[in-house]
Subunit: 255 residues, 2 copies
């Protein structure tokens, strides 16, 4: 088995470039992941694994890793260069992005979707995808200006759900104007319908940016405005929390 | 107005110690915050402000800051030492903790509460407190091993709600065994009741640690087990997302 001891090895340099650059991920169609659990989730979902890097101590604990595609040993110094974790797990993989069903023709006009318009926090985007998976939603629709789906932070927060849930990246305003789905802008204005009183079959709930929410122009691109009735003093909810409640309302309506 | 130019000034050293150490915050009963919005929220809720540090450029833009308690100018070098933000906002305050109603006698036996058992992520704890505020819950109950309520990360995620929502810190198992509230362990096991089918008046929903959830022993300390019905493939929800959905169910039941 090949062993890489140099941090300047070309394969390590390629890994680091893809790990650190969204542009490089988009150009190459590749991404990286860390940890056995994410690797197993990726494999189970048919993600093509190009190369797996493993430390000697990790391989000793998990000898079955020897059969992974392009398995390559790395020294601890190399691990120190490539790991993005406070507590490195010893396993790293270079993967090819799945051909996700980004063709909008695959939108189910009777389905239930959540749309994220310019969310910037990878933890929020990842956790929404995980929740969409748990709630059995038809898919997640991201605006082009959302943070990168394939950063390690997003992948970690999504915990494997990213490989399972249909995710569509769109120019959001055009999408909303053209889709057969009823689109609900999630806002906090008093003219909005309560989120408990709208039908969610053939619908998409649209969540705005963490700091700004949806602008009036963005809300106007939707079919209607909805709101989560609040009784307390906070002016609004965190974007991911609002998304969780709306996804749950969608699932709840179908219980 | 006093101006501090030295990073070694005793007041700056005190600020940094309190900002960086949970132990120091607990011993002194003080905490720090950054930014005008959080400062205003703290003042509005009656938090005693001991000292406000401001940069000259910030004071020029906001001359009304001159009237704040213990207002002190700081140089940019000093700001560089005390700021915990990527984009510093020029205003920093040393505050005294509110005497929060931690006396368990103040628990409302008809109220609705959320309890967090050993949550470690300050963003999760803060966003749950913000959501509890929005949903009009009676309070938040934290186990002693949760992350510090008064770290800047928690304060930021709570966005002022921390100053408004009653928060109780308890030895959780003892609390659950002694409380008059009906306690619901949030779990993903099939023997749990659907979260839509239990009464939430006089109740507390209990959320477990981010990585482990609630152990069987922890769940056994509660009156009953509840679960959020899931239709998809994800095995579980992020702790804060699960808390959001249960808090919403509590508010929804009272709509």
């Amino acid at each position: 088995m090949e062993k890489i001891e140099s941090r300047d090895n070309a394969k390590i340099k390629e890994y680091v470039k893809i790990a650190s650059s969204r542009k490089r991920r988009e150009e190459s169609g590749k991404f990286v992941l860390e940890g056995l659990k994410l690797l197993e989730e990726a494999e189970r979902s048919g993600v093509p694994i190009e190369r797996v890097f493993v430390t000697e101590s990790c391989l000793a604990a998990r000898p079955e890793l020897a059969g992974k595609p392009g398995i390559t040993l790395i020294s601890e110094a190399v691990e120190g260069k490539i790991s993005q974790s406070a507590s490195p797990q010893g396993v790293y993989a270079l993967c090819k992005k799945l051909d996700k069903p980004e063709n909008l023709g695959k939108i189910d006009s009777n389905g239930s979707y959540i749309a994220l318009w310019d969310l910037q926090d990878p933890g929020n985007v990842g956790t929404v995808i995980r929740c969409a998976d748990a709630m059995g939603l038809s898919g997640v629709i991201l605006s082009e200006n959302c943070c990168d789906l394939y950063s390690l932070k997003t992948l970690r927060a999504a915990m494997g759900s990213l490989f399972r849930v249909p995710v569509f990246t769109v120019e959001m305003e055009q999408f909303l104007l053209g889709t057969p789905l009823t689109s609900y802008a999630a806002v906090v204005t008093p003219d909005a319908l309560p989120a408990t009183q709208v039908p969610y079959r053939g619908a998409v709930a649209v969540i705005g940016n963490e700091g700004r929410g949806l602008s009036p122009e963005q809300a106007a691109a939707c079919s209607a405005k909805i709101t989560i009735p609040m009784r307390g003093n906070a002016e609004s909810l965190n974007a991911a929390m609002a998304a969780a409640i709306l996804m749950w309302e969608m699932a709840r309506a179908a219980l």
